[in-house]
Structure formats: structure tokens, C-alpha cells
Amino acid sequence: MKDDKELQKKLHPAMLEGDHSFASVTDKISDVTLKKRTPFHWFIGFGLAFMVAQLLLFSVMWLLANGIGVWGNNQPVGWAFDIINFVWWIGIGHAGTLISAILLLLNQKWRTSINRFAEAMTLFAVACAAMFPLLHTGRPWLAAYWLFPYPNTMGIWPNFRSPLIWDVFAVSTYATVSALFWYVGLIPDLATLRDRAKNKYFKFVYAALSWGWRGSARHCHRYEITYLILAGLSTPLVLSVHSIVSFDFSVSQVPGWHATIFPPYFVAGAVFAGFAMVLILCIPLRKWYRMQDFITHQHLIYMAKVMLATGLIVVYGYAMEAFFGWYSASQYEVFMVKNRIWEGPYWWSYWMLIFCNGISIQFLWFKRFRESEFWLFVISVIVSVGMWLERFVIIVTSLHRDFLPSSWAMYSPRVWDWTMFIGTIGFFFTLIYLFVRFVPIISIFEVRTLLPEANVHGHQQDFEENVNEVEYTYDRTDPPND
């Protein structure tokens, strides 16, 4: 019996550490927003991020004043940093939806304490991503009728047979649904903040934002339905978004792009990059705000495992790309593979990519690295760089030597390419800092359900003892409490 319990503990480790009650969970998480003084490191971090974000503002201004000629894009590399950064950012967003939707459907309780900020990360990453396709038009105020089908005075419609228009629909739907999902999850917590806030202005703002939520059972019933269905809708959505992003490439004829493996391989890469970013944010956050009780060591280990698994899928994708090139027996495809890996001038980027995404994650097989916060952080940073390099390799090495040798050219980014990219990183962290300050970073009401006393008659704990006492007169098709 004792062995059984130990085995149970090993199989289902506690997702909540320390001695907590409903009240202590509520206070601990909401005090970060309401009571505690803003820590000094917040001002330093926010200040730095905000300064870097000004770089974005300046680069955008410069771009709009001078046109996209300020970038290094040329012929044949007509798509460069703009789409590399777009794909990189949108990929990072995917982990948030995976955590909030797919892990909810799979009943993974460990998602509960990380979903809130993973979803916020999604929103902010999508905001950064969306800037690039808009700005690469050079005249974003005209992009409205290039991108969106609305009846304009010129009678022009977008071409719905183009993957670029699919992208517009996918990304805007993704941004909207992620925002709705995040906001719906926030409503009960905003009500908690409303009831706990002392400052009357904050109280008013939180009251308005929580829409008068009062935790009514009749409301919760519909709320739960909505939450579950939103998860069910977000799951096919998130898989479709990066598939459609990969169609931007794979629907074209360019060797190195025209491959059927792109959609699944892009989706795996997105989740891989996203988990790396979640870890980058999570490791310092739990320390600074002393949230180790809620984001336990076990959470980090699970995330490391997801990162390893998706990373291996990505590495398989690299192997298959090379295999497809060889097996196609098309001289252009074979040339592209050789050019990308060893003959071309960008061979170094390919090998850096293999190091970052293929080799660095192999350390995660070992407990020593998986359980060390320091190494997890380092590997996550390396993976983030690697995923950026992946898009660089796919885009630049495929385009710079296409079918016609007379049009070959080299690509190198200019200073405005870099400032804009670095600026979006500043913008992203600015938003993250604001989020950490004004919104509970962990979903309070969902963490309450993790407490043992949240179970009616404790039938989760002593299931065997109580199984005969609990009345199962209830035959509706609701999901069980677990």
C-alpha cells in the first residue's frame, strides 16, 4: 500500500508546493499586483525594455519616411528579415496556445499555473509578428485594401488563392481568439482583484474589466462550457496558423521551400521555440516573485521534456528536407541541399542552426541539465537563437541562388534590419513587464482548484474509501472534476 502511494506520487507529482489554502493562494498571487511595492528590478527591467522599444519606434519612422530601401532586401532575396522575424515571433506565440488549449484538453494539470503568462506571451509575440507583414509593404496605410476584403472605391479585391491572404486570415483570427481566450480566463481573477483592491480607482478599473463577475454557479456553468469549447477551437486553430505560415513557402516553387513536410515541421518548430521562450520568462519570474510554490521544479522539467520532444521532431524535419532534396533527383533541389549545407557561402548558418537546435537540446536527456535552472535557461536561449537561424537558413539560402545563375546575389542585413528586430524584442519585454505589474501572472481561480480541499467530499483523495458514498446520480455528459 505504501509502495502504491509512492508510485502514485512519482507518477503524479504535486503541482503545488507548500502549505496553502484558498485564501493564501489568492493573497500570494494577487498581492504581487495589488499590495507589494513595485520591486526595484521591475523598474530596471522595464526601463531597459522600454528604451529598446524606442529603437523600434525610430526604425519604423525611418522606414516609413524612406521606404523599404533602407533594408538589405534585394533581388533575388526579396523576403528577408521581415519574414524571418514574422515567422520567428508567430512561432513563439504557439506555446502559449498549446499550454492553454491542448494541455487543457489533455487534462494536464501542470498547465494551470503557467497558462496565464504563456497566453500573455502569445498575445505579445503575435503583436510583434503582425508588425512585419504590415511594415514590409512600406505603406501600411494602403495595406488595408491589399490585405482585407472590404468593398473599396477602386473595386479591388484580394486574391483568395494566395497563401499570403490565408496568412492574413490565420494571423488575425489567431490574435483575436487568443485575446478572447486570455480575457475569458482573466475574468474571475479580475473579480478577485476588484474585491481585494483598496485603492478606489483600481477597484473601479478592475470592476469594469471583470464585467460584474460574481462567481455564480449558473454563470460558472456557461463559463466552463465556453472555456472548454474555446480550447477545442484553439487547438485546430493553432495547428492551422503555422501550417498556413508554412504555405507561404511550400506553395511556391522555390527549391528548399516546395516541400510537403513544411506544415508539421513548422508547427513542431513553433512549439519548440515557444517553450524555449516560456522557460526564458518563467525561470526568472518565479524567482523574482517567489512563485516557486506554484511554478514548481516539476513544471520546468515538464517544459524541458516538451522542448526536447518537439526539438527532435524539428531535427527529423532537417533530415527529411535533405533527404527530399536528394530523393527528388531534381538538379535544382540537389543543388539547393548542397549549397545550403556545405558548398554555399551561407554554410555557417546551417551548421550554427544544427548546433543550436540539434546538439544543444541533447543535453536535456540528462537529469543534471534538465533539473538545473541555469542550464535550462542557457539551452532555451540557444534554442531561441537556433529557431531564428532556422528561418534565416530557409529563406536566405533558398532565395540567394535560385534557378538562374545570372540573378544570384548575396544578402546581408543593414542596420535598420537589426534595429527593427531588436526593437520588437524591446517592445515584447515592455509588454511583458506591464503585464506582470497589472495582471495576476498566475491564474488564481484555477490554482484554487488544485488544492485538496477544492474537491467536494474529497473524492479525489480517498477515492477508494469514498467511492461507495459518492452518489453518481448524475448522468450528464460533463467532464469529471479531475
Binding site: 484558498f22 485564501a23 491572404i165 481568439v177 474585491d195 481585494r196 454557479a217 467536494v456 474529497g458
Partner: protein
């Protein structure tokens, strides 16, 4: 005094107490009832006799509307309003029209899910009588509440109040309108 009350509210410490009390309230024949908890409790639906919401059907209709508007929009643009051949494809190139229609299906369903939920819940509600009970602020923190509203047919102040007290709550409150 009696006519001005919104209802009678009882406070409980644990979800189990709340669910037990809710069962008794339902069995006593009260229907205009509600329970309040700091997190969604699945057992309460059955205990209070809450009927399954029609929301999923509305969401399904929203999804179908999204799908049809996606296909309809593309049909209108490429077949009816401005038929033009691109890349030798037929005017109605269904495979290429799937991604936008798919995304609109999800978009419309999500809108119906969220705004339908808020609408059916009667939110936003800037004022509600239950907030008149000062201890009710704890409903979003750690305490559990049960209310029988005065518009219930079986409601009769003295009787209902003594019934509520018989449920072994922490405290019973009159909720003013």
C-alpha cells in the same frame, strides 16, 4: 422590509458543505436559487439542478455561419463580382478557399462562445444585490455562498430563513435589493 429583500444568503466554509446544502435546497423545492464559489464547481450543477446551457448549439450555429460567410465571400469576389483567372485555376477554386473559410469558422464560433456566454449570463452587470452583503467580497477569495431569491414561489421570509439556518451555515444574511 420583507418585500424589499432580494433574497436570503448563507455562507459556507467548504465546497462540500455548499454542495450538501444546495442539494437540500433543491430537494425542498426552491428553484430561484444560486450558489457562489471562488472557482467553478462541477458538482453544484447537479446539486442545484442547473439545466445544461444551450450555448454549445449557439456556438455551432456561429461556426456554420462563419463557414458559409467564408465560402460566400470568396464566391462573391472571385465568381460573381470580379471573375478573373489567376494561375489557370477555375473561378471557384474550392481547395484554395478552404483556409480563409476555416479560419472564419473558428473566429465566428469563438465570438459566439465568448459573447454568447456573457449575454446569457447577463453580464456586464455593474450592479447586483448580492454585493450588498459585505462578506460577499470573500466569494472571490475563499468562501462559498448560497442564495434563495425572494422571487421564488416557495419563498416566505420567516420560513425560508429558518430553513437556511437549518443547513448549518456559518452565517445567514438578508440580501437587500
Amino acid at each position: 422590509m420583507e418585500s424589499k429583500l432580494h433574497g436570503i444568503m448563507a455562507e459556507f466554509d467548504t465546497p462540500s458543505d455548499l454542495v450538501d446544502a444546495a442539494r437540500k435546497v433543491r430537494d425542498a423545492g426552491y428553484t430561484k436559487t444560486d450558489a457562489f464559489s471562488p472557482f467553478p464547481l462541477h458538482e453544484i450543477d447537479e446539486a442545484l439542478g442547473i439545466k445544461r446551457s444551450i450555448l454549445p448549439y449557439l456556438i455551432f450555429c456561429g461556426g456554420i455561419t462563419g463557414l458559409l460567410s467564408g465560402i460566400g465571400l470568396q464566391y462573391f469576389v472571385h465568381v460573381f463580382d470580379w471573375p478573373i483567372i489567376v494561375g489557370g485555376r477555375p473561378h471557384f477554386s474550392l481547395p484554395a478557399f478552404i483556409p480563409p473559410a476555416y479560419e472564419l469558422t473558428i473566429l465566428f464560433s469563438a465570438f459566439v462562445a465568448v459573447f454568447g456566454m456573457l449575454f446569457l449570463n447577463g453580464l456586464p452587470a455593474p450592479y447586483h444585490p448580492v454585493f450588498n452583503v459585505p462578506r460577499f467580497a470573500l466569494a472571490t477569495r475563499e468562501k462559498f455562498f448560497l442564495i434563495i431569491e425572494s422571487k421564488d414561489e416557495k419563498y416566505e421570509y420567516a420560513e425560508t430563513r429558518s430553513f437556511m439556518e437549518s443547513l448549518a451555515p456559518q452565517e445567514v444574511f438578508d440580501v437587500e435589493e
